[in-house]
Amino acid sequence: MNLPARLLVAMPSATALSMLALYGADMAGFGADAPPSPPPVEEADPVEPDTPEEPEAEDAEPDAEAEAEVEDAEPEAPPPPPEPAPLDFDHDAPGELIAETAHIQVSEGVTDETIIAPDMRFPFLTGPAYANSQLFKPLWSWEFYPSSGTIDGVQYPRPQGWEYSQENYSYPWIDNFCEIRTHDNSRCGAGIGHEGQDIRPGACWHNQVAVAAASGQLRTLSNFSVDLFGDDGMVYRYFHLDRPLLVDLEPGEWVEVEAGDPIGFVSNVNRSGTPIVRDTSIHLHFEIWEGDLNGHDPRAPYSSLVEAYRWLGAEDPANHQPFEDVGDCSYPDGGLTPTRAQVIAALDAAEAAEEDSE
């Protein structure tokens, strides 16, 4: 078991070390079924470092006075590094949903562009990430589920295809708060709709690490959800994270986390606590709960996520480019795509077998 090495770049050093210890030093890929790598970043030609010119020795005798002046002089501070520019990536406007997926009579989501959580850390360890829809993007064939796109008697468009379709793993981002669902959501024009934002990882694989969007207290509330009760008063909810989590979090316990701390792998674990083929894709359903004068409920997170992603990308834009190959999660044998836990178990078994042979 391993993590793409690039994931460690932006990881806090202590966390990276602990994850290295947990998963072993080989974190460059998933072996034979390794996830795709990002396109190689062209390395700049090596540049010879500037060599300061040797001052000419005009006088062999040391100038004590001048030497003292030099000692007393404040060393000139190096110029501050330039502020990183935020990532420029393609994203649709807040509230602009995939056509005809809001509701039969409502075409928009929440068009209020207000950033609810301006100080939020993007909930993925690194890019790329693709906020879009997991329900109205290619996921499975109508041949298998001809009626699954029908909600309240209305059949909504769902393109045929598979989860590993390249269009699922590419920009632009698309808001899907208020996308048609049977859940009540008074913030949506139809009174029902999706309560969060679906975010896919860079590839169709369990390789993306979800991190704490803020400092606070972490708690699991069900098989497929983790709640982060932020010190900022907001509640950040994570769904579909693989089990076990990356944090030692037993049901009924709190764990204190700092913003950016790894929580778990983005997965397709559903309510049963197991990955489900053709039920949901590998993605993070992310919610932000915040109060207003009316109450306390899920708010449209899209603007906050766009802003957080821009600044995450400012650190390392290369990590936000789409992969050339998003992997294959087509479940050719109808089985489950392996989760992190399953891979660990397989590796443990292989290791044990190797020890036995020795």
Binding site: A85, P86, P94, V110, T111, D112, E113, T114, I115, I116, P118, R181, T182, H183, D184, N185, S186, R187, H194, E195, G196, Q217, R219, L221, S222, N223, F224, S225, D227, F229, D231, G233, V235, R237, F239, G252, W254, N270, R271, S272, H285, E287, W289, E290, G291, D292, L293, N294, G295, H296, D297, R299, S303, V306, E307, R310
Partner: protein
């Protein structure tokens, strides 16, 4: 509208039936039962549905009660083993000789009825020797007819929790009454709960509920009249009594609508979360009336505007002003309404003592040890509190419930005002409710664990309302009200 009218008519008819039966001295008469059942068969709303304006008879028993004995199995791993509602049609199923399906044997704790001598003990063995009992839709009732008319329910095996609902008949007893339930264990009273009710007790529903929670039986109750030392957390039987306000026997009946019992719950059933307050709706109405105060926001803790290089404007975040006097008056009314001797102020031991929470705490009494805020949080209950918000998590039979109260708000630019309205519905992971009370915003939500939550009780707004109706308002100490 037609359906609602029908429902009202049906309820009225059922109430009439129950009241009439309660006046007969010998309650269980086979002929009367048959006649009453025939009538109930015609008006029981569960047996009909309205289609195109016409009543159509349906066969709910085939779905709800697989056995004509009237026992409904719990298939959702809920904590209640069974329940008895004393409705007439169901009592036929409780009579000796009626058997439930063999597959249900052993899934219910069972209960045996006993009565005082002046009531004919016609119903004596339910169940015994493999017969078990429970009821269905709440209707009808059993009458405690006087002070000696105690009702005793023996359980086939000890139970941890018993909850019983009763409705006094004020037409015959206009005075205050005391309704009481005792849990007995090894021949001693393990726990006793009682509540004084009067015609002024108005919650929109003329009934009260008492719950014995055996897991709390060894602690001194601050809200109820506990008697003697407790020796066990399980009850072999319970005794239900009714008195007048002076402790003398009463002559008017109290109808027992529903009784449930459990012996294996690890989670707190909603009915055991504490008494119903019936006050949330009233508080919402008042909050709507006080809307100007709610809008009078306090400090701006993050100004609105566009930050450097940000694509979108940052929302203004404010600390909402809380109408403490109005909230305190509402809390007082809650206590008066349910006859609870509860303090108004809760100073809970949070994780950061320096951050003294300023938001009124909305919480069921079961969150505390022995329903006493001063006794600390009950096992399994977690609290995160800061100066401006709190999150309280408690286990329930329908998954963990999260109650959040906050005075931090990022107002929406386009949202319509619904101050004082209860937003309740099905959510992505469970039923949830959102509302504002006196300036503080709250959410109450459940976390489903099942694989398909669409039809699960944890995603049922009506189920969530049973929790909402058990939330008490506690004020922060004076020095923390900012």
């Amino acid at each position: 509208m037609a359906k609602a009218t029908l429902g009202i008519a049906v309820l009225a008819s059922l109430a009439t039936t129950a009241a009439a039966v309660c006046q007969v001295p010998t309650r269980i008469d086979p002929e009367q039962l048959r006649a009453a059942q025939e009538r109930l068969q015609q008006v029981d709303p569960t047996r009909f549905q309205l289609q195109d304006g016409q009543l159509q008879q349906v066969q709910p028993d085939a779905q709800q009660f697989p056995d004509p004995g009237g026992y409904e199995a719990r298939t959702d791993n809920g904590p209640w083993l069974g329940w008895v509602n004393f409705s007439l049609d169901r009592e036929l199923g409780l009579l000796p000789g009626t058997r439930i399906a063999s597959r249900l044997v052993g899934t219910a704790g069972g209960v045996r009825f006993g009565f005082s001598e002046d009531i004919a003990p016609a119903l004596v063995a339910c169940p015994d020797g493999g017969r078990q009992c429970a009821g269905g839709a709440p209707s009808g009732g059993y009458a405690l007819r006087d002070g000696d008319g105690v009702l005793r329910l023996d359980f086939a095996r000890p139970v941890f929790a018993v909850t019983v609902a009763a409705a006094p008949d004020w037409t015959q007893s206009p005075r205050a009454e005391v309704f009481q339930i005792e849990g007995w264990s090894n021949g001693d009273i393990a726990l006793q709960q009682q509540v004084a009710v009067s015609p002024e007790y108005v919650t929109g529903e003329n009934w009260v509920q008492l719950t014995l929670n055996g897991q709390q039986a060894q602690r001194q109750s601050a809200t109820t009249a506990a008697t003697g030392a407790t020796t066990s957390t399980e009850f072999d039987y319970v005794i239900i009594r009714a008195f007048n306000a002076n402790g003398a026997p009463i002559n008017a009946p109290i109808l027992i609508d529903d009784l449930r019992f459990a012996d294996n719950y690890g989670r707190t059933p909603f009915e055991a979360l504490g008494p119903r307050t019936g006050g949330l709706r009233d508080m919402l109405t008042e909050t709507a009336r006080l809307r100007p105060n709610v809008r009078d926001t306090g400090d701006v803790i993050r100004p609105a505007g566009r930050r450097d290089d940000s694509l979108f404007p940052v929302g203004q975040r404010v600390r909402m002003a809380i109408d403490y006097p109005a909230a305190e008056q509402a809390a007082l009314r809650q206590r008066t309404r349910v006859g609870a001797r509860l303090g108004l102020i809760a100073r809970l031991a949070g994780e950061r003592q320096s951050n003294r929470m300023s938001v009124p705490l909305l919480v069921p009494l079961a969150a505390f040890n022995d329903e006493d805020p001063d006794a600390g949080l009950a096992d399994g209950v977690a609290l995160m509190e800061r100066e401006d918000f709190y999150h309280l998590i408690l286990p329930t039979e329908l998954g963990e419930a999260v109650i959040t109260g906050t005075r931090l708000a990022t107002p929406s630019q386009h949202g319509r005002s619904r101050i004082g309205q209860l937003e309740i519905g099905r959510g992505y992971a469970g039923a949830r409710a959102s509302f504002n009370l006196y300036g503080a915003s709250y959410s109450v939500r459940l976390s489903c664990e099942g694989s398909d939550i669409d039809d699960e009780p944890c995603n049922d707004p009506e189920a969530l309302e049973t929790l909402l109706d058990r939330l008490f308002l506690f004020m922060p100490p004076e020095e923390d009200r900012r």
